[in-house]
């Protein structure tokens, strides 16, 4: 959709540009021709000569520019076959840059951008070209042109900011201070809250199973994957649909580099996707601490969920002793909410980034996405086993067992277990039923998605 819009904008821009060229250029010539006629009328030979020369130059330059546009098109078409030779067109463009008054400004800017792009493309094939004096000069000129455009963009943004400021002033009168407080939240975390919100909103509308299916089908935007992978946010990059490309582009700013190292976002992502904890370490941690079954702590279960998740491949590749050590610190940080231990954020982020950024991780994650790691043994943890036994017992007695179902960040009450499915080598799943008015809704979910709704079952 966005591409289409942008394309339309460009097309419109180009159409306007052409229109402008059609109307403006002839006017320029008419004026000069008029002047020439007037000069002839008054018999001023010197002026006749000067004006005639100017008209001739402008015409030549405009023709040259048009020819140049054609040459660029031809060059673009033949770029593939001509890449072993230095395109002469770059030398010619250098000269034309000093005559930009003869061309429509937008044509000129776009052309300069197109050529810059070609230069860099060509530079990849033949890096020496970037050291060529005429090319360097051209690139400098192109930068100058882009800066002029950027100044106009700045003014536009300034204008839009002014409009927005007026609106903010209006809401501030109605609700003093609230905008600033929300804004502070946004600014405090940079873009992270924006990204987290986007993720959470998306996830809230999509069950975990659907997300996992999405991963398995490979239906994810590669562009965003690459970016987020580079940002060391591997847990989330598989879950993002292609439409997040916009966000990725915006996220290209330094603000997102800050996000990459953010404890806040990592914590929220991990809350959503489960932890990266190595199973044995989690179990050890559980054994150290009193069992948390009394208060049905929502977050406690999330730390020990064992599933077909990026976390597993993540763990597989985080195999080096050094990474194990640093990563362990990180994991202990994740358990901080239970153990109240102080965590060094820098260590946490650093170890996380080290592991996630490794070539091994990237490779394993790729394999995971390709489904090579799907046949891993799916085990259940102690708490889940306990719950499973209770469920079996209750169902065998013919009693209704109410559970709460985790949907996004929320827990939905009012679900009843109708069946338990157990297959060798797979995690158990449960069939749930919920009444909605006179209708009933049925779903099958992984054991990790539910908790018993009432204490009395224990």
């Amino acid at each position: 959709m966005e591409n289409k819009n942008e394309s339309e904008i460009w097309e419109k821009d180009e159409a306007l540009s052409k229109e402008s060229k059609k109307t403006e250029s002839p006017e320029t010539f008419e004026t000069n021709d008029d002047d020439l006629e007037k000069a002839k009328e008054i018999g001023n030979e010197e002026k006749q000569e000067t004006i005639g020369k100017e008209v001739s130059e402008v015409r030549t330059e405009t023709k040259e520019f048009d020819q140049f546009i054609e040459d660029v098109d031809r060059f673009n078409e033949s770029f593939e076959i001509s890449k072993t030779e230095k395109p002469k067109i770059f030398d010619r463009f250098k000269g034309l840059l000093s005559k930009k008054e003869t061309a429509d400004q937008r044509d000129y800017e776009k052309l300069s951008q197109d050529i810059s792009k070609r230069v860099f493309e060509y530079g990849k094939v033949n890096p020496d070209i970037l050291n060529n004096d005429s090319i360097k000069e051209f690139l400098e000129k192109a930068k100058e042109i882009a800066n002029e455009r950027a100044d106009r963009v700045d003014k536009k943004i300034e204008g839009l900011n002014k409009q927005t400021a007026e609106e903010i002033e209006k809401v501030n009168k109605e609700r003093p201070g609230l905008f600033d407080k929300i804004s502070e939240r946004f600014n405090k975390n940079g873009l992270e809250i924006v990204i987290a919100l986007g993720l959470l909103a998306m996830l809230a509308a999509m069950p975990r199973e659907a997300l996992l299916d999405k991963i398995a089908s490979g239906d994810v935007g590669m562009q965003i994957n690459t970016l987020l992978s580079q940002l060391n946010l591997p847990q989330i990059h598989s879950f993002l649909p292609a439409k997040y490309a916009n966000l990725a582009l915006i996220a290209s700013t330094a603000a997102v580099l800050r996000v990459a190292k953010s404890d806040f976002l990592t914590r929220n992502i991990k809350k959503y996707f489960g932890s990266n904890d190595l199973k044995e370490e989690v179990i050890q941690e559980e054994e150290k601490e009193p069992k948390e079954t009394e208060d049905f702590d929502v977050s406690s279960r999330e730390e020990v969920v064992e599933k077909k998740d990026t976390g597993e491949s993540f763990n597989q590749v985080a195999g080096s002793a050094e990474h194990q050590e640093t990563f362990k610190k990180y994991q202990e940080g994740e358990l901080d909410s239970k153990g109240n231990e102080k965590v060094d954020d820098n260590d946490m982020n650093e170890s996380f980034n080290q592991v996630a950024g490794s070539a091994e991780y990237q490779e394993a994650f790729k394999k995971y996405q390709e489904g090579e790691l799907d046949d891993e043994k799916m085990e259940i943890n102690k708490e889940e086993l306990e719950m499973l036994n209770i469920l079996k017992e209750m169902i065998a007695k013919g009693e209704k067992v109410e559970v709460k179902y985790k949907k996004g960040l929320d827990w939905e009450f009012g679900w009843y277990v109708t069946d338990i499915k157990e297959e060798k080598g797979k995690r158990p799943s449960v069939s749930l039923k919920r009444f909605q008015g006179s209708d009933a809704k049925y779903i099958n979910v992984d054991l990790s998605k539910i908790e018993l709704a009432k204490k009395k079952y224990y």
């Binding site: 959709m1 966005e2 819009n5 942008e6 904008i9 460009w10 821009d13 937008r106 300069s112 951008q113 930068k143 882009a146 800066n147 455009r149 950027a150 106009r152 963009v153 700045d154 536009k156 943004i157 839009l160 900011n161 927005t164 609106e167 903010i168 609700r175 201070g177 609230l178 905008f179 407080k181 929300i182 804004s183 939240r185 946004f186 975390n189 873009l191 809250i193 924006v194 919100l197 959470l200 909103a201 998306m202 809230a204 509308a205 562009q223 690459t226 970016l227 580079q230 940002l231 916009n246 582009l249 915006i250 996220a251 290209s252 700013t253 330094a254 603000a255 806040f264 929220n268 950024g357």
Partner: protein, 99 residues
Amino acid sequence: MEKEIINKCESIMEEMGLSALDDKRKQEIMDKMVGLVCDRIILKLMGRISDVEVDEANEIMTSEDEDRQLEFLRIKMPDFNEILDEEINAVKAEILKDL
């Protein structure tokens, strides 16, 4: 990583006709756009907070409970994706108009 970021940044800069800018200038423009988009999103969010919710919103936003803040924002903006897309597109279109 920075190289990759810059590559990604190129796309939006190209759309804006600014790909020949140096990285610093690109980043300045991007930062300004991000700020503008954020403000506009907050304004939309403000429009969704009813009069009776203002006190609660103030209290939540003043607290240090980030989870609660996030939850509040999420509930108020379940369609955040669309709004984000809309605002980014709107800002880009307005900038490109008669540029």
